[in-house]
Symmetry: C2
Subunit: 166 residues, 2 copies
């Protein structure tokens, strides 16, 4: 299944994408998040082949993104639950969904709306902000090598930094 | 290149994933965002085949996520720039990167750190918040059909909503 060296790249984005696996995985997580948490339900909702769904779910459980929970006394029926790690993918998922709402579906044609649990109020759009809460655009941010940067990452970022100034 | 019906699904997340194309595309966008905006630079940074990179970049330009900009008098040298649409993918990209930092690289081993342009200050973590700014977890949010929901989407969400209550 793995076609890429994303798991060995010195980049948390690439590493994240490696664990997520592929686009289907994000839609599987979408289903679990909206409460469709059983194998047959997910299969029906996505129209995905059963063997592919099995592989994806197994991978998500292995990576600790989902966990299986028995929901009948004999343990015959299983539901998938988000772990803490899985739940923390929500900002990324919602950011992608909101981007699709805005740039593809378009305002007033959103297929699905995320709200607070207690009210029908729409969640605000996820945007970048500085530490004081001021909104930031793409031009307002920079990237510098982190403590885990390998030499190649460091020199790549340093070179880009110099050419930006030069 | 297209293997899935993601562009026809009644879901802005699926539609977004369809336009993004594949994992490589997110890494290409990462390069442009960090300032590595020329074909050869992106190719060298990612070690991606030139023909694959050409296809991905063309698709990104077609979808209005990147645009080509001539950076030499005769127009011989071209750089890729984020459009407004492309720039608005940043929250999703950063959310994925921060998730990888936290759950895969681990604290103190981040390969790359996003900062404000003017200061070396780290950007705060992107988290879900309600309209008043209160942090929300996965359990605190719900999804309801939006104005663009097709009948199948609506009945799927309504059924999940009822089973949650029942």
């Amino acid at each position: 299944m793995r076609r890429t060296p994303f798991d060995t790249m010195n980049c948390s984005l690439a590493n994240a994408l490696d664990q997520i696996g592929d686009w289907w995985t994000l839609l599987i997580l979408r289903e679990v998040i909206i409460g469709c948490d059983r194998f047959d339900g997910i299969q029906a909702a996505l129209g995905i082949a059963r063997n592919i769904l099995t592989v994806r779910l197994t991978k998500l459980v292995e990576h600790g993104i989902l966990e299986r929970q028995s929901i009948s006394p004999g343990g015959k029926r299983t539901a998938y639950r988000l772990t803490e790690k899985g739940g923390e993918l929500l900002p990324a998922l919602l950011a992608l969904m909101q981007w699709g709402d805005r740039w593809i579906s378009g305002k007033g044609r959103e297929p699905m709306i995320a709200t607070e649990a207690a009210t029908p109020r729409r969640l605000p759009r996820l945007i970048l902000r500085d530490a004081k809460g001021k909104p930031l655009g793409a031009a307002d941010i920079r990237f510098r090598p982190g403590p885990g940067a390998r030499p190649a990452t460091k020199s790549h970022l340093d070179r880009l930094q110099r050419s930006r100034k030069g």
